[in-house]
């Protein structure tokens, strides 16, 4: 009862913030259309064997969903700036319910982003086997778990005026090192750094749409380590965060 009512209003207010939605959903979508639409008849991009619409859809899926999950941090920082975290702390709301609601809201944002990009991709001629759509979506959702925790962590550590640049920078660095924008190669220091980041594996998840096979044990280990580590830190940050703004 607590969880459903509380979560329902949390979702309602997130999806009511039009300015936030325009940027959160509009940005990846517009970027995708701007890049992919003029090249929609390119069927062998950079001799990769992939069409431009598929290639860029996959790239923006990673970027867009990563942003969607991390944006929880911006919302939390805004709530903290008006002291709402303190108000919540004097209610019986458990940290578990608080986290579940924040994570669920992040996933709702990510799912809308995925849906919009799939739809745009479809319009631009992307056709994949049903099994690939399913497999790709499923892996992306799993790959987003560490980002859910990272968003909450940053929301509780940063202030409303610093969280914007911090999230933007984090996304940019994780996207760059994870190989969202261009492949990071198969050897070398950059590759090793990339493989230790959750964004790299998120890219691998999305690459199922371009014939990739997802990830093996290595990917699972990195993702679980990030998820567990970020969750522990986020929980600690949340519990400590009772000061006056």
């Amino acid at each position: 009862m607590t969880f459903t009512t509380y979560t329902r209003y949390e979702l309602l207010r997130t999806f009511r913030n039009r300015r936030f939605l325009v940027f959160a959903f509009g940005f990846p979508l517009v970027l995708y259309i701007l890049i992919a639409a003029p090249n929609r008849h390119t069927h062998n991009l950079g001799s990769s064997g992939l069409s431009a619409p598929v290639y860029f859809m996959v790239g923006l899926l990673t970027f867009g969903t990563m942003n969607a999950m991390l944006s929880a941090g911006a919302r939390i920082a805004a709530e903290r700036s008006v002291g709402w975290n303190r108000q919540l702390r004097i209610t019986p709301l458990s940290p578990r319910t608080y986290f579940r609601t924040k994570v669920l809201t992040g996933y709702a944002m990510a799912l809308v982003t995925i849906g919009l990009l799939y739809a745009a991709g479809f319009v631009l001629g992307v056709r994949l086997p049903a099994g690939d759509w399913f497999h790709m979506t499923w892996l992306i959702l799993i790959g987003l778990v560490p980002f859910a925790a990272l968003g909450i962590l940053m929301g509780h550590l940063l202030t409303a005026d610093s969280v914007g640049p911090a999230l933007g920078g984090t996304t940019a660095i994780l996207a760059f090192l994870g190989g969202v924008w261009f492949p990071i190669g198969h050897h070398g220091a950059l590759h090793e750094i990339g493989e230790a980041l959750p964004s790299y594996w998120l890219v691998q998840a999305a690459h199922v749409g371009t014939g990739g096979s997802g990830w093996g044990a290595h990917g699972w280990i990195v993702l679980i380590a990030w998820a567990v580590g970020a969750t522990i830190l986020a929980r600690r940050a949340y519990l400590r965060d009772t000061r006056r703004a």
């Binding site: 009862m1 607590t2 009512t5 509380y6 209003y9 949390e10 309602l12 207010r13 997130t14 009511r16 913030n17 805004a78 709530e79 008006v82 002291g83 709402w84 303190r86 108000q87 702390r89 004097i90 209610t91 019986p92 709301l93 458990s94 009772t242 000061r243 006056r244 703004a245």
Partner: protein, 311 residues
Amino acid sequence: MIETLENVTTAAVGVTLHGLTKSFVGEHGTVQAVRGVDVSIDAGETVALLGPNGAGKSTTVDMMLGLLQPDAGSVRLFGGSPREAVASGRVGAMLQTGSLLRDLSVRELITMVASLYPQPLGVDETISLTGIEEIADRMTQKLSGGETQRARFAIALVSNPDLLVLDEPTVAMDVEARRAFWTTMRAFAARGRTVMFATHYLEEADAYADRVVLMANGRVVADGPPTEIKAMVGGRRIRATLPGAHLFELESLPGVTHAEQRGEAVILSCSDSDAAIRALLARFPNASDLEITGAGLEDAFVELTGKEDAE
């Protein structure tokens, strides 16, 4: 309801603050915000925590609610820790600072908060109890300062708490809203609930509390019925130009508690300014430029704490 009445008649302990101490490290070194506060509040009592800004009221309230860990001392709410009392939904509070979650109507936000408590008041009941019908369907970010305060009160109240804590609740409210606010608070207290409110207005403490705990400089300097506290800090001051008068003579006048010289003028602190002014004029017909003012709370506190520190 029966349970609550029993609580009142047996005077069960609601709140116990024991030896609470808290320091903050700031730009100008360590500031001792609270220096050993002992207060015990029975269930069903309405207690005002009165003091000037910077007295340590909000720090005390934060420690009471478990938002701040005391350096030393302990807090018990209904025999348990603040965390336990909060988790079981027995505490409702309106903090000093803070606003509302945006992108929800007042009614929606109250409903959202109510869902967190085991036995909340009805949402409509809360709205009518706090008299906020006309803003209930407005978005929280569209409210004025005073309206926000009233909505925040509704949010504290919907929890249907055994202990209601209000930290400077009437700041930003106009006269009308203040009166409505206190009426609601009294009605709620009359249900046998424990209420503790922090304020720096003597009139509020005097009018709405059963008991006043007076704080200054991080300490409790007085604790008693409002009339007693009012007599201590609510005195008036007489200022007069009166060359050549002896302070001890002035201090012996009826109604005068303290006299001091400022150049040609004297300032008399009075417990009864009516008696004092009559006696003053009878004794010193040459006294001129008379002024009677309400003594500022701050001055009264300085005097009280000055004495305390000298002991």
